[in-house]
Amino acid sequence: MRRMKWGNVYLIFVFIILYTPIFYLLFYSFNSGGAMYDFQGFTLEWYQEVFQDTRLLMIVLNTLIVALLSALISTVLGVVGALAIYYVKKRQVKNALLTLNNVLIVSPDVIIGASFLILFTIAGIKLGFVSVLLSHIAFSVPIVVLMVLPKLQEMSPTWVDAARDLGANEWHILTKVILPFITPGIFAGFFMALTYSLDDFAVTFFVTGNGFSTLSVEIYSRARQGISLSINALSTLLFLFTVLLVIGYYFMSRKSSRLYGMWGRK
C-alpha cells in the first residue's frame, strides 16, 4: 500500500513536469506586462493582436489547406499502398515493400527535408506551396499504410471469395466489401496524416523557400527573435483546438476497442 502511494507521487510529479510548460505558456498569454515573467494584470490584448494579424491568419489558413489536402491525397495513396502490399503473395516482396515503406517513418526529419530539397531542385519544382504539399504527402503515405494494413489483415479472405462467387466484380469487391471493413483504419490514417502535417516543422523548413510559410515555421522564426506574448496567445488557441480534436478522437476510437495509432509526434 505504501509503495502505491510513492508511485502516485512519482506519477503526479511526471504529470506536473509534462504540463507545466504548456500551462506556463497559456498563463502568460493573459499577462499585460508583455513578458513571460512578472504577471502584472489580466489582458486579452495579445489575442486581439493575433486576430488582427492578417499575415498570421493567412499562414494559419495555408497550414490548414496543406494539412487537409496532403491528408486526403496521402490517405488515398496509402490505402492503395496497403492493398498493394496485402495482395502481394511472395513473402520477400512483401517484406521488401514494408521495409521501404518504413524508411520515411524512421528517417529523421532533417534527412527527409534535405533530400527533398535536392529532389525538388533537380526536378525544377519551385519551392513554395507545391513543394511543401508534395513533401507532406510523401511522409504521410507510410503512416496511412501502417494504419490500414492491420485492418486488411484482420479481414477474413473468405469474404472476398464469397463476394466473387456471388458474381461481384473487382470494383464491387473493393467498394462493397473491403472498404467498409477497413473504414476505421482509413479514418485513423487520415487523422494521423492530418496531425503529422499540422505538426511538421523540420521538413517544411527545408522545402518552404521564401514567401510561403506554415505555422510551425512562423513560430520558429518568431521564437528566434525572442519572446512575444502573441505567440503565447496563439498557443492557447492551438491547445484548445488540439484538446477538442483529442476528445473527439478519444470517443471515436473508444468504439473500436483499440486506440489506433496513438503514437504522437516527434
Partner: protein
C-alpha cells in the same frame, strides 16, 4: 485478377521510387560534389578530420544522455501507469502533450529558463540564487528529455500491458523478491518495448536542430544542426549530404540493433 493487383501496385511503387529511393540516392550522389559542383571525395576526407569527428562524437554523447534519462524517467512512469485505474485515460494524458506543437513547448522553456523565469524564481526561493540556465548543455538535455518522454513511455507501456501477470505471480510465489522479479522477469520480457522506445528517441535526438538552435544557442552542435547549417546557411550541399549519408548509416544500424518489429 493480376491486372487489378497491378493497378494497386503501380502507384505505390511509383511513390516508393520517387519519395524513398530517389531522395536517398540523391543524397548519396550529392555527397560526391564540392560546393562548386566538381566531382570529389573531399567531403569524406573532411568528415574524418578532428573537427567533424569531434562534433559527431559530442552529438552521440548528447543523444546517449537524452535516451538514458528519458528511459530512466519513462520506465517507472509506464510501469506505474499500468497499475492505475482508467489507465487508457492516463496514457492519453501522457500523449496529449505530444500533440502540442514541439516548437511551442521549446518556446515555453525560453520563458521558464529565462533570467526571471520560473526555474530561477524557484532556485532563488530555495536559496541557491539565480543562474544562467538558458544556452547551456543542461537546458538542451532537459528540454530534449522533456520532449521525448512520451515517446519512450508509449512502447514500454504497451510491452508491459502484453506481459502475462501470472508470470509475475509465479516468480513471487517461488520466493523471488520484488527486485529480483523485476530484474529477471519483468524487464527482460519488456525489453522489446525498451528497444522500440530507445529507437524512437535516439535517432531524433541526433538530428533535431530546432531545440539546439532555440535553447542551446550555438553551444551544442548535433549532426542535425550541422546538416541544416550546410544546406540552408552555407549552401555547401555536398558536405551536408556527406553528414546526412553518415546519419542514414547510423539510423540503419540503430534500426538493425533495436530490431524493427512492426
Amino acid at each position: 485478377m493480376n491486372s487489378v493487383r497491378n493497378v494497386y501496385l503501380f502507384p505505390y511503387v511509383l511513390w516508393i521510387i520517387l519519395c524513398v529511393v530517389a531522395p536517398i540516392g540523391l543524397i548519396v550522389y550529392d555527397s560526391f560534389f564540392d560546393i562548386e559542383g566538381h566531382w570529389t571525395l573531399e567531403n569524406y576526407t573532411k568528415f574524418f578530420t578532428p573537427v567533424y569527428l569531434k562534433m559527431t562524437l559530442s552529438s552521440f554523447w548528447y543523444a546517449f544522455l537524452i535516451t538514458f534519462f528519458s528511459l530512466l524517467i519513462a520506465y517507472p512512469t509506464a510501469y506505474l501507469l499500468t497499475k492505475t485505474k482508467h489507465k487508457q485515460l492516463w496514457l492519453l494524458m501522457i500523449i496529449l502533450p505530444t500533440w502540442v506543437n514541439l516548437l511551442l513547448k521549446v518556446y515555453a522553456f525560453l520563458g521558464i529558463f529565462g533570467t526571471f523565469g520560473l526555474a530561477n524564481a524557484v532556485l532563488s526561493t530555495i536559496g541557491i540564487g539565480t543562474k544562467q540556465i538558458l544556452f547551456t548543455d543542461f537546458s538542451f538535455v532537459f528540454v530534449s528529455v522533456y520532449i521525448f518522454i512520451p515517446f519512450m513511455v508509449l512502447p514500454i507501456f504497451n510491452a508491459l500491458e502484453e506481459l502475462n501477470p501470472s508470470l509475475v505471480d509465479a516468480a513471487r510465489d517461488l520466493g523471488a523478491s520484488a527486485w529480483t522479479t523485476f530484474r529477471r522477469v519483468v524487464f527482460p520480457l519488456t525489453l522489446d518495448g525498451v528497444k522500440a522506445g530507445c529507437q524512437a528517441v535516439f535517432i531524433p535526438a541526433l538530428s533535431l536542430f530546432m531545440i539546439t538552435r532555440l535553447i542551446a544557442g550555438n553551444r551544442v552542435i548535433t549532426l542535425g544542426t550541422a546538416i541544416e547549417e550546410h544546406f540552408l546557411v552555407t549552401q555547401d550541399w555536398g558536405m551536408g549530404a556527406t553528414i546526412a549519408v553518415f546519419l542514414i548509416i547510423v539510423m540503419a544500424l540503430v534500426v538493425i540493433v533495436t530490431g524493427n518489429r512492426r
